[in-house]
Amino acid sequence: MNDAHRAILAVWRIEQPRLITSLARMLRDVPLAEDLTQEALLAALEHWPVSGIPDKPGAWLMATAKRKALDHLRRGKMLARKHAQVAHELEQHEQIVPDLDSALDDDIGDEMLRLIFTACHPRLARESRAALALRMICGLTTAEIARAFLVPEPTIAQRITRAKRTLSESGLAYETPRGPELPERLSSVLEVVYLIFNEGYTAARGDDLLRHELCDEALRMARALTAVAPHEPEAHGLLALMELHAARAAARTDAAGDPVLLADQDRSLWDQLQIRRGLQALARADELAGGAGFYVLQAAIIACHARAAAYADTNWPHIASLYGHLMTLSPSPVIELNRAVAVGMAEGPEAALSIVERLTQEPALRRYHLLFSVRGDLLQKLGRLAEARADFQAAARLTANRREQDLLERRASSCITLPSATAATGS
């Protein structure tokens, strides 16, 4: 892609949500609206390098997309009544000269929300939802999505095609869900956004920079979601969680790209603007009824770290109690393991060890390297070095991440039993 193309793509991306939502509203067909939005981009890529970018690119793109919608409907031999009616509406639209402010006049908030709910519909396959959301909400190209997910381009293209076909064939209503359907639909949206974020955040493979952009896309999506659906505490909670996580991005790895543990991170590298935004989103979630949900509680935990100027200032008792709430809400051995870590920091290794010992009975954690590394850490603090060493070695064997493996092996070799080293490191 050359510079001129990149500039056109940038303009199109700014206009893309309004194009797709306007067309979807007129055509009552989201996949078709998406196709036409892409066609408008192709038209711009064809004309603008010659003519230059017009003064009102939004109006140009909208007029072009509407014209293509009309062409499409006319081409169809069998114009159903619905189509005839839509074509009539479009013809009327076409006669109105696109005026320069109209681009900003429509409030697309509700339309945007409908689009988000459609792209993340629970009936679509999980990985399709993420691809479709990135395409329809963020305006990413198939090639960009493929690069970010480290998947061949045809695979992503196929996922998108299949998802769009499902949308077309299932006749899913293009509307904002209400009533009892809403919580399930919203949780599907939040799950997709968080999946996209985590794909970027936990990037262990590939071009880190590119994958990091997935975090930005997820953040933009969550900010958009909270702006158009301001009364959903979990949406604010997820936004807070991601802002607070992303705020630490610069401190999470060292110059060589090795992971830096939270305890050792240089907190001056944390992004304070982003932390402020995260804390604001969390406060907003707390103000709303039905506050303490899955994402809100996790955000509250990260917020404890964000508020601590130094690792030693961390409010561990509060974190332990938040993990307790999370366990009640959504019991899982991994959350219990995290609670054990917090209890260990708040009350000492002995209390934590009894929780971890109970967890060793959990089948789900039998091969979970963090269980062993946490227990190793507690045992090391209690001065039981031989057992600690064995746990670190087990953890190193169980992880697939080479950098983590190195770290665990280093910790294993630090557990050398000397006759005099019987005293626990009290710190």
């Binding site: 510079d3 990149r6 500039a7 793509l9 940038a10 303009v11 991306r13 700014i14 949500p17 970018i53 003064d55 009102k56 690119p57 939004g58 320069l100 402010d101 900003l104 006049d105 409030d107 697309i108 908030g109 945007m112 920079l209 990091h212 952009e213 930005d216 953040l219 933009r220 999506m221 969550a222 900010r223 958009a224 702006a227 158009v228 991005a249 610069a250 999470r252 790895t253 110059a255 590298l269 603007l273 935004r277």
Partner: protein
Amino acid sequence: MRVMYLVKSNHPGPPSPELGAAIAKLTEREVKAGRLLDQGGLMPISMGAEIRIADGKLSLIDGPFVEAKEVVGGFAVFELRDKEEAIAMANEFMQLHRDLMPGWYGTCEVRFFATPPHNPAKHP
């Protein structure tokens, strides 16, 4: 990448109501798109002050006595994908001025935040 826009002008007077309304709409759209992080208009420099160092000496110049060439009248902080997107945004913003406040003149400076080395800007 994080971008700061600085709008500079010494055009006297506040924006026209039409321009003000259009900027408000643009602002709302950008908030809903998840791109706009922060923005604000600034009071005239005559109400503020300048603290300057010249010849190693610190001096205070009270607002009314500041020699105003182009002064910053407003700023905005965005989170954007790349330099192209940053320029497209600024173009749209300035086009609104051109359309809705004829005679206005000024500059929109597009500046990228310095980022830590682990998260470098794509097209600095």
